[in-house]
Subunit: 257 residues, 2 copies
Amino acid sequence: MKIVLLGSGNVATHLGPALQQGGHEILQVWSLTLSNAAKLGRVLSADFTDDLGTLDHSADIYIISVKDDVIGEVASSFPFPDKLLVHTSGTVGMDLLGKDRLYAGVFYPLQTFSKQKPINFQEVPVLIEGSTEEVNTNLNVLAASISKTVRAADSAQRASIHLAAVFACNFSNHLYTVSKGLLEKRGLDFNLLLPLIAETAAKVQSLDPADAQTGPAARNDQETISRHKEQLKASPDLLQLYSLMTESIIRCKHPDQ
Amino acid sequence: MKIVLLGSGNVATHLGPALQQGGHEILQVWSLTLSNAAKLGRVLSADFTDDLGTLDHSADIYIISVKDDVIGEVASSFPFPDKLLVHTSGTVGMDLLGKDRLYAGVFYPLQTFSKQKPINFQEVPVLIEGSTEEVNTNLNVLAASISKTVRAADSAQRASIHLAAVFACNFSNHLYTVSKGLLEKRGLDFNLLLPLIAETAAKVQSLDPADAQTGPAARNDQETISRHKEQLKASPDLLQLYSLMTESIIRCKHPDQ
């Protein structure tokens, strides 16, 4: 397919090369900021612009990959009512692309993207939604050309998946940040925790996370929990987070308590 | 070295075979519950007992690997004052083994162990502490025979590392459980999140977790955050956890807000 990318952030930066590897042609990159459009355009050997008025009309699909709160704005300025327009967001509905738009869709890659870290797109589930059967078919073919896991998900399902992903990914990553801070305060090396972090994620690839739960809260080991709270008493925010997580684990593992 | 294991839980179950592979001999397994001692004893082709009075006297080291709140009890009933006695806990001090004990130590493998999931012990950092230089040397040799990462850590440092590990591992795993629950409430499949969970942990093997942070809180995307809170309004506990984590991420990424 011939594709125009509208956006140059983390998702577009990973999606562009994956689509090329899938055999598709990126005609053009548009971004609000010309230098960003140029940077990704050069990586993809594609044309680039910051002017929606100069968009290439010959693409089969236009993929909006910008911050959620700008999607509506970009969609309403998109000049081709007859073309297939999709966004890549997990959180906003397909209707943000325009309620009267005939060919609209969502192409949501369920992954955490950082520009610095390469990714194997074959392992990234892509959740698709289309305004018509024809759009569904096209998005399914496009997604299957870059990922081995493609699922249909309507906007309500996608919102649930995105919320779950925030807990599993964004919040977990923040816990890594917190743990790094706790170690550095004592001059200790965060690298010591890396095998633990890797194994914690590896375990749930085959075990149910409730069965994989270990640690003082899982054992309802109140003595250790008290010692930890004592260690955190100078950091009220972390103490509150510790208490909330610990109570939540105890409720899960010891519902009779 | 000749070793007696006191305990048959998750840690002992993984440590025993690793020590054997490191060239050591497990003479005996003791557990409070004879059937558990027997089970691990058979795996290790070692003697087993539930009676501290019948412990084999010929070992070089006795490794207590039981719940933290029973370590003191086991240590005070341990019959050989002249022998090297260590525990494997991250949370309790070495002094729990007896203040007057000449040869005492800690041998703390920094990892999450579940009986069902095999582990490569070479990748598990081992934190050691000894009551004498001789003990330190012996523990260092023992640890280096099973792991490529051995560090000295006193009881205060170990307590900080253990607390950080609770955030990075136990709490992250609980977030996986929470995310699974959110999906299952909608009939959606937790497996969809597995690549995301794997990648989140993989990213921080090379990126600083603060730099790897993505998601609505990292972008301070209040519209998405409001939508998520709306989705959670029927689960006050999860809503509180969501709010606390989100505020904590915003404080980290947008300290000026």
